[in-house]
Amino acid sequence: EDSDTPAASGANASAGAQVAQSAAPGAKSCTLDQFGGTKVDLSTAKIGFSQSEKEANPFRIAETQSIKDEAAKLGIPAANLQTTNANSQFNKQISDVEQMIDSGVQLLVIAPLNSDGWDSVFAKASAKKIPIITIDRKINADSCTDYLTFIGSDFEKQGQRAADKMAAALGNKGSVAILLGAPGNNVTTLRTKGFKDQIAKVAPDIKISFEQTGQFSREEGQKVTEQLLQSNSDINGIYAENDEMALGAEVALKGAGKAKGDVKIVSIDGTKGAVQGIVDGWISAVIESNPRFGPLAFETATKFFNGEPIPEDIIIADREYDEASAKTDLGSAY
């Protein structure tokens, strides 16, 4: 519970206040009528939640927990909330969701493994008029027909914010290495694009001299950094596309005899370990990717079934942690 911790960006647990960016006037929105569904009482409804990856990293743990906690808070019986986990197998996620549709769920919350490839699910769900809320990752499709709305972070924006932090840490010049996420992953693509574009804009003197995948894992992040420190000894900054790789990089830097701050690390996610890294002086800044979708998802669903218009995208507020805020905000990191 982070309700009484003042967060950097001013977000607090009240769901509405989590929203960073509501629909601009005139943007597309969706009502129950437009969608064509029927009103459902959430407290008695059958709800399906499809998680994409194993609950084996802080982000996924917090995400699943947040959904479950909020459901419990709303008095939804545990038996009515069906959860599945695709273990990173995309086809399994598709059939998990299809199976939940078959079993009669009335609302679907999906954390998609991939942004494309949902055609068969949409065909099935729209036939039964089941609203789908996708969280954390957007699906490339038509809102209000294929799915209801997307609640999540703007990954490209995260990349841009990380670039700003990196530029500031390096004083707008230097040589930066990127530890990419898993290849082919939309998150990887967007965080890379946002970062590179923004660097080109705000600090053209920063050279991106190295990009290799660390597979979002600590071990790979460490290995790649070790190699990179040998061949690119002039590196000043490392942009890690998630905290795990940043922590791996930290171990590699220590192993190579570097001192704190020799190489600036900026990463994305906002896990406790990484924020602790800032406190310890190894990491310069962390952009949060907020996993606490539960309150917002259920509030959105309630509004929707009450007939209120729902915006196409609901962007959740991501905090950021830097040397100034890390110590005080450590408690609110997940």
Partner: protein
């Protein structure tokens, strides 16, 4: 001492009858387990019984079934094909890409490309005597690299451009998706090919004893190349129909597809040492894995790590049971 009393022929006949019964159980072992599991699931989970749920299980099983079909041929020849998972993803990507030219290219381009990789596998295995395990392991890496090269390191997802192809993937007939019908047809062809043609017999012969098969005039190398080509083609086809279903050439399909296929084939009673196996068993094996997955989901709230423990334990139980059935058969 009845055995002494009866002439040899009679003894053979009695042992033959019990042989056949055990044989039946052994051959239908996976099917028997499948039936038992389905009955349990239907009793325990009301949602399992639905017609829709059956359709969902089948459509999800369609691509793995195709891959397992190819794998069955390969394993009966005593080989193994680890490249199918990568070929499946590669097939999906090129299928989605080619769909902008229409339905047929969307289906044929993955076949051509993955078939080609199969040719390379087959030729290397048949003509250089390198171990299938290692050749196809290299192909696994190579095909994945190729897929990444074609999709801008996996970041570009091609969308299926052809509406016909897309509706082939998502549409259904009698509540059963079109891909399932296609897979059913392919399986019937596969069964006929394996059990009723000279090629099929040579597949068994090569796996049973390569040297003997060669001395008996079987074209061993051609047979081997053919099964790897088939395996590649079927993996490509699986990728294609999956792309049609998903409406895009997804690049992040999970790894490990090859191991699932091997598991399904082995559960179906095919010997990894080659020379014996049936396609009916493979169907049962594929469905069994799908049903188990479905059951775990039906429970509702199993954490992901427990799911893996259950799958692993289940795999062990089925394979051990299968082995005891085979032993039973050998003892008579």
């Amino acid at each position: 001492m009845t055995a002494l009393a009866v002439p040899v022929e009679t003894e053979e006949r009695t042992s033959e009858r019990s042989d056949r019964i055990v044989d039946l159980v052994q051959r239908q072992g996976a099917l028997a387990v499948l039936v038992v599991v389905v009955i349990i699931a239907a009793a325990a989970f009301p949602n399992f019984r639905g017609y829709d749920n059956a359709g969902t299980i089948l459509i999800a099983a369609a691509p793995p079934a195709l891959i397992a079909l190819g794998m069955t041929f390969v394993i009966i020849t005593g080989g193994i094909d680890l490249s199918v998972g990568s070929l499946y993803v590669l097939g999906g990507v090129v299928s989605a890409y080619a769909s902008k030219w229409g339905f047929l290219p969307a289906l044929l381009v993955p076949l051509a490309l993955c078939g080609l990789v199969g040719v390379v596998n087959g030729v290397l295995i048949a003509y250089t005597r390198m171990a299938p395990f290692i050749v196809t392991l290299a192909a696994l890496l190579g095909a994945r690299g190729l897929m990444r090269a074609l999709s801008n390191e996996g970041s570009t997802t091609y969308l299926v451009g052809d509406d016909g192809f897309r509706s082939f993937g998502t549409g259904s007939f009698l509540g059963i998706g079109y891909p399932v019908w296609l897979v059913a047809v392919v399986f019937v062809l596969g069964m006929v090919l394996l059990s009723r043609t000279r090629f099929g017999r040579s597949v068994y012969a090569v796996g049973g004893s390569e040297d003997a098969a060669s001395l008996m005039g079987v074209a061993v190398r051609r047979t081997k190349v053919t099964v790897y080509v088939m395996s590649g083609l079927l993996a490509g086809l699986a990728g294609g129909i999956n792309a049609a279903k998903l409406g895009s050439g997804v690049t992040v399909l999970g790894t490990g597809m090859e191991l699932d296929a091997i598991a399904a084939v082995v559960i179906g009673g095919t010997l990894l040492t080659g020379g014996a196996g049936t396609i009916a068993g493979t169907i049962a094996g594929v469905l069994l894995l799908g049903v188990i997955q479905n059951m775990i989901n039906q429970v509702g709230n199993v954490p992901s790590s427990y799911q893996q423990v259950i799958s692993g334990a289940f795999l062990a139980v089925v394979v051990v049971a299968q082995t005891y059935l085979v032993k039973l058969r050998r003892r008579t």
